[in-house]
Structure formats: C-alpha cells, structure tokens
Symmetry: C2
Subunit: 245 residues, 2 copies
C-alpha cells in the first residue's frame, strides 16, 4: 500500500507515465540527495523566496497557498505522499506561493541542477516530469471550476471526492472514506469559503446521509449519491498507464 512510496517515490510517480529503463531508474535514484522531515505548521518554501530544491512527499500532508496583502489566503492544493513539492518554484527560479506541512512530513530532497542534469542524460525523464506537471495542472483547473461555478455544498462534495480518489490511487483511501488531518479552517481557505460556512455545509451533507467529516476521518456514507450530487467526473485524474514505452 502506502509503503511502496517509501522506497522510490519518484520512480513510482514517473513510472506511471513512462516505462522506465534500468538506466533511467539509476539516474532517478541518483537524484535523491537526502531524506528530510519537517514539522507541522512551519513553512517550507516562502512566497517570493527563490530556492534550489524541490521535494517529493513520502509521508504526511502539506498544502500550497498564496497569501494576499489583506491577510486572506487561498490554498491552491494539498499534497499527499507521492506528490511534488515546489517543483514549479524551482523551475521558474521564483516561488510564487508558500508551502506548509499540515502534519509532520517526510520528504526526499531534489536539487534543480541535478534534475536538469538528469534531463540531459535521460531525456525521457523530462517528458515524464512534464506529464506529471500536466496532471497537477489539471487538478488546479478542476479546483478553479469548483470555486468559480459550484455552490458551497457541491464544492465541498466535489473536493472531498477528488481527495478520496487521489488517496485511493496512493493506497491511502477507498470508496468508504479516508483519514483526513485537515481542519475546517484549511477546508475554508481551499474552497474560498468562511470556516463558519464550511461547518454548516458539512452538517448539511452529513444530515443528507452522504458524507461525514469527523475526528479526522472522512466517511462516504453514500458514495454514488454524493458523486451524483457533486457531478463528479474523475476522468481528469485517470491514470491510463505508461504513455511512452
């Protein structure tokens, strides 16, 4: 299950897009500089700071967000095991957002220069990373649709279903639900709502018998009805298998 990521998270992630050769796997293994841990709440990459390292999540949850001058924030995405942290930041040589662990997290570090060298010596790796980045962008796009065109209840439902699907792919969830360390404040900042309204909406969904969010556990009581209510179409998450053999 989730343990698989522990070994070679990058190989696992990119292998979904490109059938990697032994040589390419060797190059990938050379990328992992060291394993690091960060404690919950202490920000990792700061908005505006330029940085030389990206990370791959091994365990725990993190979130990336943008801070507005007036103190509000918009959470762009949550990262779970197997996801990149700060990839865009190092590519653009400028962090346009902040990354903060939600729980204590474990990551492996990757230096930009090593990554670019790897692209040069194993070109198909660049293609694989491009694919992974495209899938991340597809999730941001779906998030934009959530916030722009769905009301609070649909938005919440859709968001929880997406998280459930992603966690299931990572072996950390199922159609029945998943363990979820997020607070209602975090949900509010992700969905563009107030925490008060998040609470009300969660109650609605609970009383409608569709999904329960309690004690760090999301339980899909009626997955099908919830998916219908949220108009959830997981196509954009589909893992079709290696596209380049």
């Amino acid at each position: 299950m989730g343990q698989l990521w522990d070994m070679r998270p990058l190989a696992r992630k990119l292998g979904a897009f490109v059938a990697l050769t032994d040589d390419e796997l060797t190059v990938l293994d050379g990328l992992h500089k060291r394993r690091r841990t960060f404690v919950a709440g202490r920000e990792l990459v700061h908005q505006g700071q330029s940085d030389r390292s990206a990370y791959v999540m091994i365990s725990g949850w993190a979130c990336s967000y943008k801070l507005l001058p007036d103190g509000q924030r918009q959470i762009v995405d949550f990262q779970i095991p197997g996801d990149f942290l700060g990839l865009r930041s190092i590519l653009l040589h400028m962090s346009d957002h902040t990354i903060e662990p939600v729980t204590d997290i474990e990551v492996t570090e990757i230096h930009v220069s090593d990554l670019l060298d790897a692209f040069a010596s194993a070109p198909r790796l660049a293609t694989a990373v491009l694919w992974a980045a495209s899938r991340d962008e597809a999730m941001v796009v779906e998030h934009l649709v959530d916030v722009g065109r769905r009301d609070a209840a649909q938005r919440m439902a859709h968001f929880l279903l997406e998280l459930g699907s992603r966690l299931t792919l990572a072996g950390m969830g199922s159609r029945d639900g998943f363990a979820c360390p997020l607070t209602q404040y975090l949900l509010a900042d992700a969905l563009g709502l107030s925490s008060v309204h998040v609470n009300r909406v969660l109650r609605q969904l609970r009383e409608a018998g569709m999904v329960t969010f309690r004690d760090g556990q999301v339980t899909f009581q009626d997955h099908d009805r919830l998916a219908e209510f949220a108009e959830f179409d997981p196509t954009y998450l589909d893992q079709v298998g290696p596209l380049l053999t």
Copy 2:
C-alpha cells in the same frame, strides 16, 4: 511587434526559457506541420475528445473552458498570440476541457508524435516546454486566487491588469490599455460572476476613474491606482530571460 510571432512562434516562446542552438531551431521548424485558421465560435477541441494535435496561436484570441452538466461554464484561460492551445490535452491523451476561438484565429499545428520525437532528439526542448507549461500553470493559480478570495471589483481589476501585462509582453498592449475582443459574457464566465454583475462592476471601475472597457478597447485611465486597488503583483508573469544557456 506582434509580427515577430508570425515567423516562428514556437521558437520565440521557448527561446525565452532556453537559449536555443541552431540544431534545436531546426528541429523546432520541423514541428510546424501546417498553418490553419479557425472561425470565431466554432469549437476546436471538445471536452472528452482525445486528439493528436496541439497548436500555437499566431493571431487572434481563444479561450479554454470547462462545461458543467447544468450548462454553466468556467473559462480557465484566454489564449493570445504565442500561447499553446491544447498542449495538456495531447500530453494526457484526453481533453479535459474545450477550446473555442473568440475571434477568427490563425494557428500552426503540432502533432504529439512529432513533439515527443523532438524531445528525444533535442532533450533541452522538453525542458523548455516544461518551463512554458509551468508558467501557464502559474497563471491558472493566480486565476484561482482571483475567483476564490477577491471580491468582484478587485477580481475584475486584477484580471484586466494581468491581461494587459501579457499582451504587453506580446507587443499588443501598453500601460495605457489594449484592444480586447471579449464580451461581458465571456468575462463573467472567466471570473465566476453573472454578466449582469460584470456590467455593474465595470461601471464602478469606470466611474472611479481607473479603467474603461468600451467598444472592444480597454483603457487604463489610472494604471497605478488600479494596480494598487487590485493588489496586482506581476511577479508570476516575469520573464527572467533564458534560464538554461
């Protein structure tokens, strides 16, 4: 100005990220299968359809959007000359959105297979495309912040300023304004507002003496005050010059 794009739009776009060699330029030129035109309103890539070609815009405006089952839509981004059309669609072998020309447009076509072959023979091109894709993602993220955490007036102001900056980089605008073929309906679907409210907000901004939107022309009457009002920080659009030499 805008004419430069006409010649080798892809070379111009990628050259901003990677200093291209003659060999790489040759490979790039081999990518342009043919030049095509599409008329305004007739969709180009349909949601759910899998496709083999992406495009690079030469002239005109297009938009990419997602349709919801209830008929609402969320416009994800507008494309202007020099932008990719449908790059993510072909990479993921599945279009998760629809692309439609806003005006008549002119594009050059690129086949996926050719693109992947090009990556193999000129690896640094893959890195360049990854960079371009990352910048596109940064714009979607900023759009998400717009819709999630800014009120209607700030949202509109921020959006017009971003468009202005992008068009200026493409030689099609300035601090004074730009020609804009968008309707208020399109703005509404992009900003997650109703077209009625878009109209009201435009009036507010006009009466405040900050920006005018009329007869296909956006005029920044007071660019500085508008930028301050919108808390506009164009960092995420910055073109730092070749990152890989």
